[in-house]
């Protein structure tokens, strides 16, 4: 193996793949067969973190950055004058296995520019996964990026070897997609997703009857949307995510704040800051939909189409629904306790456990790990709560913003990124 050449390719093709955020290793479970290499468990492991604070759990690379398309937001687009490179199937397999053996990664995330056509590209991606599974006996995690327009036959094969498949819809609105990626169309993206979704449903049915059905994309599908490249609002984004969760059974929708890398009059200028705070609020909303029982319509509505940048979406909801508070900690059901600002899933569970033993006070709440400086305005304790007098105060919002040190406010402050 020529290491210098391999190193050069790795640098180019990791650099080109880095903007894709949909690469956690969670949701897979593949037991190691006796004597083989690797397994993946449902929770996944982040093996390290980049200096931008994002988790690295997979070797995330492009097979090649040669591309026949010219999507405006993408560094690999055909009109961009950059160094091009391509891995052989063996090189990707070798890197994956050797990184995995040293416990650097949970597996592989392989994406690609489109060379020749969709099927040629997809076929090459599938070949990597197939070789890892069949020749190297590899049971670690494999995530393949499906190529829009790939045939059903190739998607079928991909799902047999990969744990997760994804197609990034990238631009939340159709009009935005037309503007920035004129050669792509939404239908070419949705068809492979539909195919996999049906396949997964069928797999689940067959599994009930026959025990030994080969796994079919066991970690499901995900997608990614770029935020801030076009002028969609947050309500549109959340609605699209909700649609994908409901109608395509997606495991995750990722949001990627647009990083201006290309000069193009259709795009925000190169000096535009990455909308990190907005991206963060979208993840918080997504979280509320998936784990806190909030509906998309509760988080935003047409009168308020953008997420509040000052307070997180849960607090924002509480401030708009003060009549539902205070919530009695001793008697309220779990779902309502989850809606108290400053109380997360774990703390809510602990509250429900601990209150069986004794009557809880604000001191207990502190010890259980709640963000009491926020929560205290929304809770009624059996022994009463002096902070409740603020609940009807028109300045409650100010009080909360002043008194809370949101961990995101500092980290994601848009101003900081200017320096």
């Amino acid at each position: 193996m020529n290491f210098d050449r391999l190193k050069e390719k790795l640098e180019i093709l990791a650099d080109a793949a880095k903007y894709d955020v949909s690469c956690s290793s969670s949701g897979g479970s593949r037991k190691n067969k006796k004597g083989a290499l690797g397994d993946s468990s449902a929770s996944g492991i982040c093996h390290t973190y980049t200096e931008d604070g994002r988790c690295v759990s997979l070797l995330k690379i492009l097979l090649t950055n040669h591309c026949i398309y010219d999507c405006a937001y993408c560094v690999s687009r055909s009109s961009n004058d950059i160094k091009r490179a391509g891995f052989t199937v063996d090189e990707v397999v070798d890197l994956t296995i050797n990184f995995y053996r040293r416990n650097y990664i949970e597996g592989l995330f392989l994406s690609s520019g489109i060379f020749k056509n969709a099927d040629t590209t997809m076929e090459r991606l599938v070949r990597v996964a197939k070789k890892l599974r069949l020749e190297e006996n590899f049971n670690g995690y494999i995530h393949l990026k499906s190529i829009p327009g790939a045939s059903d036959e190739l998607m079928q094969e991909a799902a047999l070897y990969a744990d997760r498949l994804s197609i990034n819809i990238e631009i939340p609105t159709e009009s935005g997609l037309k503007l920035l990626a004129p050669e792509k169309n939404r239908q070419d993206m949705l068809n492979p997703m539909k195919y996999i979704q049906n396949g997964i449903a069928q797999y689940k049915d067959e599994k009930k009857i026959f025990r030994k059905v080969p796994k079919f994309a066991p970690a499901g599908q995900s997608t990614q949307m770029i935020v801030g490249a076009t002028n969609e609002n947050d309500l549109q984004i959340i609605k699209v995510a909700d649609h994908f969760y409901k109608n395509f059974n997606l495991k995750r929708v990722y949001y990627s704040g647009y990083v201006p890398v290309l000069e193009d009059k259709r795009l925000p200028s190169l000096t535009t800051a990455v909308p990190m705070l907005r991206e963060n609020r979208l993840y918080q909303s997504d979280w509320l939909m998936r784990f806190y029982g909030f509906k998309a319509e509760e988080i935003l509505d047409p009168n308020m189409p953008f997420l509040d940048l000052e307070v997180d979406p849960k607090l924002s909801w509480a401030l708009r629904h003060l009549h539902q508070f205070p919530i009695n900690l001793q008697t309220a059901d779990y779902q309502m306790i989850l809606r108290i600002p400053g109380i997360g899933v774990k703390t809510a569970q602990k509250i429900v456990s601990a209150r069986r033993f004794q009557v809880l006070t604000i001191e207990h709440l502190k010890k259980l790990g709640a963000a009491v400086n926020r929560a205290k305005y929304f809770i009624d304790f059996t022994a009463g709560n002096i902070h409740l007098r603020h609940l009807t105060d028109i300045n409650l919002r100010k009080l909360l913003i002043g008194g809370s040190t949101s961990k995101f406010q500092n980290q994601f402050s848009q101003q900081l990124t200017l320096f």
Binding site: A17, H47, G53, F99, G257, V274, K350, L368
Partner: protein
Amino acid sequence: MTTLLYDGSFDGLFTAIFEVFEYRYKDVEIVSRERFHQENIFAEIHEVITQNEKTERVLNKLEKNIGKSGIHELLKVYLSEDSELEQLILSAVKQSIQHPTENILQNYADNDMLKISKICKSVSRERHRMTAFVRFEKMQDDVFFAKIDPDFNVLPLIRKHFKNRYQDQKWMIYDLRRNYGILYDLENCDFFYPDEKLDLNKYQQKFHDEETQYQTLWQRYFTKTNIVERKNLKLHIQHVPRRYWKYLTEKN
């Protein structure tokens, strides 16, 4: 006040706890021999001899009350090497005997139980980090070797994870601070306790030929996958506290 001296082992600790009940001691402390300094010259000393049968009896009884997962939590408290570990575990056992129908560990309003839950959380976090931050280096004899130095004694908690994951390569994980490790030789996966500390000076000279090259590839990958425009060192350090950097190939 009676001081029960035990040998520092998990079994020894539970034998001691059994004897607290057996001799109906009211005012006791349990101390490992190694850590014991006699301060209170009027304290009565009770020497505990580890007896598996007594340990089993306590654990069986406990398992009925707090389940396997409860026992596992107490094991984590033991592995935390916390200075109060004996007192906390004793408190949990006492309370559990008093309230056999409840999982007493969930009484987070009790100070001792809350401390136990906090310790478990820290230990679990470090266990998880060790599954992430162990870095194997391939040696000339084809063994993948890793050295660790965790704050808590988590090696027993990660053995199964690595055993499941790496079945077709020989590997070894060595705890520098506690001077013991796990060795997997393609057949057995056992703890080993060397008489002397392993000498790791210049062990890089025994690297397999390709080792430094894969390390370089990994370092380059790590650098290139970062997005400079999103640089956020504060968040980075929150995820990878500096004390772990010494394990990490990409940080050296």
